[in-house]
């Protein structure tokens, strides 16, 4: 099997290019550069392309020949193709026809870039965020309307998926939430104790822990973990269904994707997050209690007594009241991003990441808003 070659020579008044051997994709790499400047150095001489030595030709090889012929013709030479075997000639013709359609359209005007690329990007991003906010609000409206409709016909609430998701987002998240909360409790107690010990006020570690955990840390931590765990899962699940056209199939079967996919997840998360959050509170306090006992010699009875003095049910309530709202935001963002997936596997990944980032961002912003609100109304 000899590879493709090209040779050129003058024969009387014409310039003869002889292609021989296998002109295939394996030879194309080597042949390409050899063809670049090949041709007569005078204008307007007849060129004869002799293909009688060709033993094999494929599309890549044919395209190289076609390019050569096209270039020579553009340079004003008359090109005659001779000697090709019938089957190779047919392929060359096919490729020439296909390439002609491509070439005529090849000179697409390249769009000029913006004058200030950075400003352009910032502008586009800003408008993008604005549009996304609007359409998320739109989605919130859609979900609310669907939820209200469902309230009138509660028998349509789908219990099976609801319990399935309750298990997924609630029960199955307990180990990781518990572990992380316990560690947070330990860290808080340790750091607080270090500072308070200087004033001989070690016992106030309990106040610090109680208020810190119950009002803020417990729910915030839980929400962030759940956003990373369940929000992303919602996006990936719904997004994959979108890619497989399952969501379209649902619509054509007269099923409402919001009712089927979004509401069960949202409801499950709204129910589960306060419970998981309460669990996280208890475990974080337990972690703090263990640390207080080991490091400050505050025993569990003292810890409990001081805790009773330090916090009231209001403290607990102020923390837990945020949970359903955070849950709604996480579910809303997760499902919304999932439904935005379009066609490709890549967009599933992209939107899953975005779902986590946006929901954690919104949870923290809302938490800050709650703090301001609570201090304004004095609790």
């Amino acid at each position: 099997m000899q590879t493709g070659t090209i040779t050129s020579a003058w024969e009387e008044n014409q310039f003869v290019l002889a292609a021989a051997g296998r002109w295939d994709i394996a030879s194309a790499e080597r042949l390409g550069p050899q063809l670049r400047n090949r041709g007569p150095d005078r204008k307007g001489v007849p060129v004869c392309l002799d293909l009688s030595g060709l033993t094999a030709l494929d599309t890549a090889g044919a395209l190289l020949l076609d390019r050569l012929i096209r270039r020579l013709r553009e340079q004003g030479h008359v090109v005659a193709v001779v000697g090709a075997r019938a089957d190779l000639c047919a392929l060359l013709k096919d490729v020439q026809r296909a390439a002609a359609g491509v070439a005529s359209r090849h000179q697409v005007t390249v769009e000029k870039g913006p004058a200030f690329p950075l400003a352009d990007q910032i502008g586009r991003a800003t408008i993008g965020i604005w549009h996304e906010m609007l359409s998320m609000l739109n989605f919130l409206g859609l979900v609310t309307v669907t939820a209200l409709r469902l309230l009138r016909e509660p028998q349509r609430i789908r219990l099976k998926p609801l319990f399935f998701h309750l298990e997924q987002v609630g029960l199955n998240s307990l180990p990781i939430v518990g572990l992380l909360s316990f560690l947070i409790g330990i860290v808080l107690a340790y750091q607080g104790a270090d500072q308070l010990r200087r004033f001989g006020a070690e016992i106030y570690v309990v106040n610090l822990l109680g208020i810190g955990v119950l009002r803020e840390i417990g729910i915030l931590m839980t929400s962030i973990i759940v956003a990373g765990r369940s929000g992303s899962a919602f996006t990936a699940q719904i997004g994959t269904m979108k890619v497989n056209q399952e969501v379209d199939a649902m619509r054509t079967l007269g099923l409402d994707p919001v009712e089927m996919l979004v509401l069960p997840r949202m409801l499950a998360l709204i129910i589960a997050l306060p419970l998981v959050g309460f669990f996280a509170n208890v475990v974080a306090l337990a972690g703090g209690a263990v640390m207080a006992y080991a490091y400050l010699d505050i025993n569990f009875v003292q810890f409990a007594r001081q805790l009773q003095v330090a916090v009231s049910t209001t403290t607990l309530f102020v923390g837990l009241v945020k949970a359903p709202i955070f849950a709604a935001v996480i579910a809303l963002v997760g499902c919304y991003q999932g439904l935005r997936v379009s066609g490709s596997a890549e967009s599933v990944g992209l939107l899953t990441t975005r779902s986590v980032v946006v929901s954690i961002f919104l949870v923290i912003v809302l938490d800050a808003a709650f703090s301001v609100l609570f201090s304004y109304i004095g609790i």
């Binding site: 994709i25 390409g32 599309t59 089957d87 392929l91 490729v95 390439a99 490709s344």
Partner: protein, 255 residues
């Protein structure tokens, strides 16, 4: 006769207790178009996947282009794979790439051609499989089923393979689209000198472009030209070729 391009001997496939193939033998010659038919779930796709090395058979040998697929090193397997193209049932295009980018994937992976040539090859392939030029910049999700098949074919042909494997290429196409696709495969086969191995349920395709037909019945292959198979008296084969659809396709070819 020259050595066959594909040669399968004593192939057996088992999934747990289920036996799918029990002693399949097959030889495909260079430049031949062979159609594989059989009832649903008889293991046509599995046989195809075993030949292209996506699955391992339970027993038996498979030689493609003179190489035993079970005994290849990873490097040899990759370079062998560049010598055949496969069209999956629903195209299996990379969803995050445009059609042109899909076609360029094997070109970039297996060759060191300059980008402008790669670009032009990809565009020529798009034109050769009968897609409009603007389809090249579209994503798979923006194409119809038939267009996805054509795009999948263009990607399978990107490296000008010696063998083309097709899994139900015309399933899901309208009859006119299916006929056009048959014609396309036939003309590409002639101009590129391809060996084509296709799974199909489409009797019209069998009559239109296949040189020989392999029928998967009773876990084995019965192979022959249409005329030979028409004389077979195995009940399934008789029902298949002499049933109403078989007769219609036969009549259509006669006219």
């Amino acid at each position: 006769m020259a050595a066959p391009v594909i040669s399968v001997r004593g192939l057996k496939t088992r999934f747990g207790a289920q036996v799918v193939h029990d002693g399949v033998d097959l030889d495909v010659q260079k430049g031949e178009v062979i159609g594989l038919v059989g009832g649903s779930g008889t293991g046509k796709s599995v046989l195809l996947r075993e030949i292209v090395g996506l699955m391992d058979p339970s027993a038996g040998t498979i030689q493609v282009l003179g190489q035993d697929t079970a005994r290849l090193s990873e490097r040899e397997r990759l370079s062998l794979q560049a010598r055949w193209g496969m069209l999956f049932q629903d195209g299996a295009l990379f969803s995050s790439l445009t059609v042109l980018e899909n076609i360029k994937v094997p070109l970039k992976e297996h060759t060191a051609l300059p980008p402008d040539l790669v670009d032009e090859i990809a565009q020529v392939k798009v034109a050769m499989v009968g897609l409009a030029p603007d389809a090249g910049s579209k994503y798979p999700s923006q194409l119809s089923g038939g267009m996805r098949k054509r795009a999948g074919l263009a990607r399978a042909l990107a490296l000008d393979p010696e063998i083309l494997f097709l899994d139900e290429p015309t399933a899901g196409l309208d009859p006119i689209g299916a006929a056009a696709f048959d014609e396309l495969i036939g003309s590409l086969q002639k101009s590129l000198g391809l060996t084509v191995f296709m799974v199909t349920h489409d009797l019209d395709s069998l009559y239109a472009i296949c040189d020989r037909i392999a029928v998967l019945v009773d876990k084995k292959l019965v192979i022959g030209t249409i005329d030979e198979l028409l004389r077979q008296d195995h009940p399934w084969i008789r029902d298949y070729f002499h049933g109403p659809r078989g007769r219609a396709a036969n009549a259509a070819k006669g006219s």
